[in-house]
Symmetry: C2
Subunit: 344 residues, 2 copies
């Protein structure tokens, strides 16, 4: 109303000091509690801090010393399904518990977005960066190297990381499923997933999957929904497309469990039996799998843990502890009951 005079002027340390009748430095010492002041002075300063509602300006602190900020830049492709939402939750909870803040970047699966985000976030002098994926633009890599801060690449395990890598081997996880499904006797197999311009972990899984299937004499029909989000409806719709174009498919492998559930709903709606008429396999062992009546054939991946471990390694790195460069979190195949079994 009447407070158009000026913007709510921030209270600075100098003002607190002046009010308390001491020097800036003394006030600073009191606030940091490292000693060098009398109890009387401490009370005086703290009283003024309360009265004036002083909040420290961490920008100035970072600026003053060479101490780095407590920001950690975190890039995530999207939050459209539970996969990365859980990874992010794991990261932020851990970082938050240790006084760090995540600066989020949703890079939409493109290297250009990632590069632009890296450039911006580096200008805020973050203490470190956590990036999803092992692929980055050349300029991004240059900036990351020049920044001189810890970089954790998560998700897609990278044996020669920029700095630190935490995740699983997606090729192997796809390969294992390929071998498992061919082992179950399937040869005409479909794949339903999404597609982006850039290679990513999902396409690596598909590569591993195809290698295994084709190595066993089977073949894979791909149904890629371009630029779609890998969630329920995409799986439903992609399944419809796939079955219309390739009616002979005996089993479908999905990019993740959410899409697999969508597919499951589609084939059920058409009166098909699973696994009698068609096999369904997902990936990720997402929360939804815990309530389905059939155990979804899938691959268990500890999403939350990947985030947590990534954050832990970042924190260890920041406190100067030695950190292994490459940390395989591991996965395991869940045979489930949505594909027919070898012995049936």
């Amino acid at each position: 109303m009447a407070d158009k005079d000026r913007k709510n002027s921030k209270i600075s340390l100098s003002e607190v000091a002046k009010e308390a009748g001491v020097s800036k430095m003394t006030a600073s010492r009191v606030l940091r509690g490292h000693g060098g002041y009398s109890e009387k002075t401490r009370e005086l300063v703290m009283k003024k801090v309360d009265e004036l509602g002083y909040l420290p300006n961490r920008l100035a602190t970072v600026f003053a010393g060479d101490q780095s900020s407590t920001f950690i830049g975190v890039s995530i492709p999207d939050l459209g399904n539970e996969v990365f939402a859980q990874v992010l939750e794991g990261i932020d909870r851990k970082l938050g518990a240790f006084g760090h803040q995540s600066v989020l970047g949703l890079t939409q699966h493109t290297l250009e977005e990632e590069e632009a985000w890296i450039k911006t976030v580096l200008s805020w002098q973050p203490a470190g960066l956590i990036l999803t994926g092992r692929y980055h633009s050349p300029r991004a890599i240059e900036m990351l190297k020049g920044a001189g801060i810890p970089v954790v690449e998560i998700w897609d395990l990278n044996s020669s990381p920029l700095d630190i890598s935490v995740g699983i081997n997606h090729f192997d996880s796809g390969f294992d499923m390929g071998r498992y499904l061919t082992g179950c006797g399937y040869t005409r197999i479909g794949y339903v997933g999404t597609s982006h311009d850039t290679a990513n972990a999902a396409s690596t899984r598909l590569d591993g999957f195809c290698k295994a299937v084709e190595g066993s004499g089977g073949n894979v029909t791909r149904q890629l929904c371009l630029h779609d989000t890998a969630t329920y409806y995409t799986g439903f719709y992609g399944t419809e497309q796939l079955l219309l174009s390739s009616p002979g498919v005996e089993c479908i492998y999905y990019q993740n469990d959410a899409m697999a559930f969508g597919g499951l709903q589609y084939v059920s709606s058409k009166g098909m039996d699973v696994p009698g008429d068609i096999g369904i396999a997902g990936w990720g062992d997402l929360p939804i799998a815990s309530v389905l009546q059939k155990r979804l054939t899938s691959c268990h991946v500890p999403h939350l843990k990947i985030g947590q471990v990534a954050a832990e390694m970042m924190l260890a790195r920041l406190s100067g502890e030695p950190v292994q460069a490459c940390r395989d979190i591991g996965f395991h195949l869940i045979p489930g009951t949505t594909v027919r079994h070898e012995d049936s």
Copy 2:
């Protein structure tokens, strides 16, 4: 290897200027592109910027002038289900498109966590704050008022917000469902949700729901899973608990669609027919509802849009445009086919 000499020394503007043989100020002008330099000088400076890989230090910029940062603090209770993940996605996409960065805080549904987070994030001089929920601790409110920056409270519409409020009226949305279900002839109704120490939007919905049901002579049996995440398994398990303790319940209202789906799976596994033996109603119209064979009785809420609008209002506020204090995004009830209908 051999670069243990010093930490990767950052290139500063002074160094660029020195290399280019101009003053800091001229280099600054070139980089900001506001004119006041010759084309020759521009080329000279930009060449050195490229050569040295100079990245501006935005901390210093914020520090120097009274211009604020491009940080927006965003507090979200959790990412355990799709509700807030979508809200966050809406916020970050919009903010990111306008050159702002989200500094995330997962406040785990507690006011203490929120207060601690607000204190920390304010010390980084953010341009604004987006908070989930209308309830904050007294100290938090004090800090928010003292900060003099825009604050958008989202999710739970607040007719007298601290600054700006964007969301829906959760009481009404619960009330409407209560009226709808009693209108369908249900009187012994169950509720399955999660519970936290603090009042939140879900408890407000429950209040509205109970008022409507009890006003129509029905009664509500609550099954609250303490401190659990509101997702599939919690709905599954909560339904089991509820039906064991109150076998006469005819219809169950869930905190959200994910929990409702969990409940749907539980009752199906027990051979119960929906809506023949029991009615199921969810909330949120989450993505999973799009692939179910029965249309889930629910309440459509545009999660992504709430995030987007919140971000838009923040951006408008930051650019000095007039902004309405209270923006109702609205919801609508989805009758669905998982409860029996009035005319049946």
